[in-house]
């Protein structure tokens, strides 16, 4: 760690870990309900569990991205964060808004719009919070000694993510329009601006871990984010096929979304090649695992499994089935969860001064969580494909089909247990690093 203010990142990461753990608990509640055990129905009905599960996911990832920015921006800009106190205010207000939202979901206080369940009054608090965050990051960047491409791409991703939250707050009387603009948030986040954030973090990590020249890495970063927007913006059309808007989206969405995997393929090839090319091998092997893992697994989850149902001919049958849940899990895991875990693994030893670069526990965390998540993806996938055939080809009743596929949720829960074991190992490692401290300043060369 080079600047004292980078320590703020630690607390955002700690918040991430906490919320991540809670997210998984609600995942188990839903998995059990699908398997036929809905004992908690009267206190935590499925829709509560689901809103909590997906919103905690988004909040812990955002907290991770914010932590990443607080760590990366000072180092790239070569100066302390402009105001550390305000950064802590921002952290606490983020946590408070998150907690109110999550508690509210247990008392029917929400806005039932998938992924954007946060009620309107809280939306405004989110906006204020994010403005504070952006203010701190952007002033640090612009007062800094240098403005690197890595820092610019990361900040641009964060800024656009904030701007794109706004269309989700527009009120509509028509469900069709409501849904149309909801995708401006959800799709343009995960298949647009979040990829900039991911690209920025990935580029920072590759520069640090492989020692390849910054100029080379940053050039490819532009190519990757270029591919992202070129395909991803019009690719939004893959959500407009069957919601009551013009057929033109079948063509536009079909063609452009089919190109989206290219950005993820480029990211995977980029990471692996830079690793091969790198002369300097940083001792932090675990960070390298997570970094390369994110680039590769995101291609599997978002690129391959996204492509699997993105053409209108296929999507007509899979739209709104468990096939979507299969893809959603591996994509979110590979791209965003893993990149957050990568930056944590890299920065934690630097902030705390404890160089736990190589540990059995760390490797167990990596392998078990990935094997568990891939198993879960297969379980969702088998259930989803069976659902598509039985329900949409053979026209069986929804609930009759659900009974047929219950067993796959037992498999899901088993795999989720493996996944959880990995995540618990990761959290123990996190805890063992101890707290960040100023003695860690400059103790590492990079």
């Amino acid at each position: 760690m080079k600047y004292k203010s980078q320590k703020v990142a630690y607390w955002f990461f700690a918040l991430s870990m906490l919320l991540f753990g809670l997210q998984i608990v609600y995942g188990f509640i839903m998995g059990s309900a699908h398997a036929g055990y809905d004992g908690l129905h009267s206190i935590i009905p499925f829709n509560t569990a689901r809103a909590v599960h997906t919103n905690l996911l988004v909040v812990w990832l955002l907290s991770g991205f914010m932590g990443a920015a607080y760590y990366i921006i000072p180092e790239e800009a070569q100066r302390e964060l402009v105001n550390v106190k305000l950064a802590y205010v921002q952290l606490i207000s983020l946590a408070v808004v998150g907690v109110i939202a999550i508690v509210g979901y247990h008392f029917n206080y929400w806005e039932g719009r998938k992924f954007l369940e946060i009620p309107r009054p809280l939306d405004y608090l989110v906006v204020v919070n994010v403005l504070l965050f952006l203010g701190l990051i952007l002033t640090t960047l612009f007062k800094g000694k240098r403005k690197t491409t890595t820092a610019l791409v990361l900040s641009m991703g964060l800024l656009f993510a904030a701007l794109l939250y706004l269309p989700g707050m527009l009120p509509f009387d028509s469900q069709v329009k409501d849904s149309f603009f909801r995708w401006w948030v959800v799709h343009l986040w995960v298949e647009g601006v979040w990829e900039l954030i991911m690209g920025g973090i990935l580029s920072f990590l590759l520069i640090k871990l492989t020692g390849v020249d910054r100029e080379v890495i940053e050039k490819w970063l532009y190519v990757i984010v270029g591919l992202t927007f070129l395909s991803g913006v019009l690719g939004t059309g893959h959500h407009y096929y069957y919601i009551g808007v013009n057929k033109i989206w079948l063509i536009v969405g079909g063609i452009f979304s089919a190109l989206e995997p290219l950005a993820f393929l480029a990211m995977a090839l980029f990471a692996v090649n830079m690793y091969r090319k790198g002369e300097k091998k940083h001792p932090n092997k675990l960070a390298l695992y997570w970094t390369l893992g994110a680039a590769i697994v995101s291609f599997m989850g978002a690129g391959l499994l996204g492509f699997a149902h993105t053409l209108p001919q296929t999507n007509k049958y899979t739209h709104g089935t468990l096939v979507t849940a299969m893809h959603g899990h591996l994509a979110f895991w590979g791209a965003y969860a893993m990149i957050v875990l990568a930056i944590i693994s890299y920065s934690l030893p630097n902030m705390t001064g404890r160089k736990l670069y190589e540990s059995t526990r760390g490797r167990v965390a990596f392998w078990l969580s990935n094997i568990g998540m891939i198993g879960m993806t297969v379980a969702f996938g088998v259930a989803g494909v069976a659902q598509v055939y039985l329900e949409r080809k053979f026209k069986m009743e929804f609930m009759a089909v659900q009974k047929e596929i219950e067993i796959h949720f037992v498999v899901l829960i088993l795999c989720a247990t493996i996944f959880l074991t990995g995540i618990i190992s990761y959290m123990i490692d996190f805890y063992k690093h101890g707290k960040p401290n100023d003695e860690a300043l400059e103790t590492v060369s990079n």
Partner: protein, 143 residues
């Protein structure tokens, strides 16, 4: 070989062009002539129904227009499938509705609220979905 400058131009150029096309197509999609959703038939009851739909996060279990959760049936063509009487019974019952073992929350809506939700479903059911409606069994009218 590609230079960093060219790479940046590719990024900025591609972004601006696709974004402009995207805005153009959005405006086109919502022009009156292209409307597939019978926008003019959105009555006060439909709007109230949508508010109830959101206030209770029905989408947290069901899908509508193929969007939502995968725990409970798709409701796009529910009126055609079940009829209004059945739906009213589900919405107004004070005990958990669970004909197949899986429970729905017992909302115990008033007659008026149930009518609003049914108006909402009726409107949804008449949207032109580019052929999706013929696939989504058991909504599909065979043929």
């Amino acid at each position: 070989m590609l230079s960093k400058k060219q790479a940046r131009a590719f990024f900025l150029g591609g972004t601006v062009i696709t974004f402009l096309i995207f805005i153009g197509l959005t405006i086109f999609s919502f022009s009156k002539a292209q409307d597939q959703s019978n926008d003019e038939n959105i009555t006060e009851a439909v709007v109230k129904g949508k508010e109830l739909w959101e206030a209770n996060n029905c989408m947290g279990c069901h899908t509508i227009l193929g969007e939502g959760a995968y725990y409970a049936p798709e409701l796009t063509k529910v009126v055609e499938r079940r009829g209004e009487g059945y739906i009213k019974a589900v919405l107004t019952t004070p005990v958990d509705w669970a004909p197949n073992g899986r429970k729905m929350v017992a909302y115990g809506f008033s007659q008026e609220e149930a009518a609003d939700l049914i108006a909402f479903f009726n409107w949804i059911g008449k949207i032109d979905l580019n052929g999706f409606d013929t696939v989504v069994s058991p909504l599909a009218k065979d043929e």
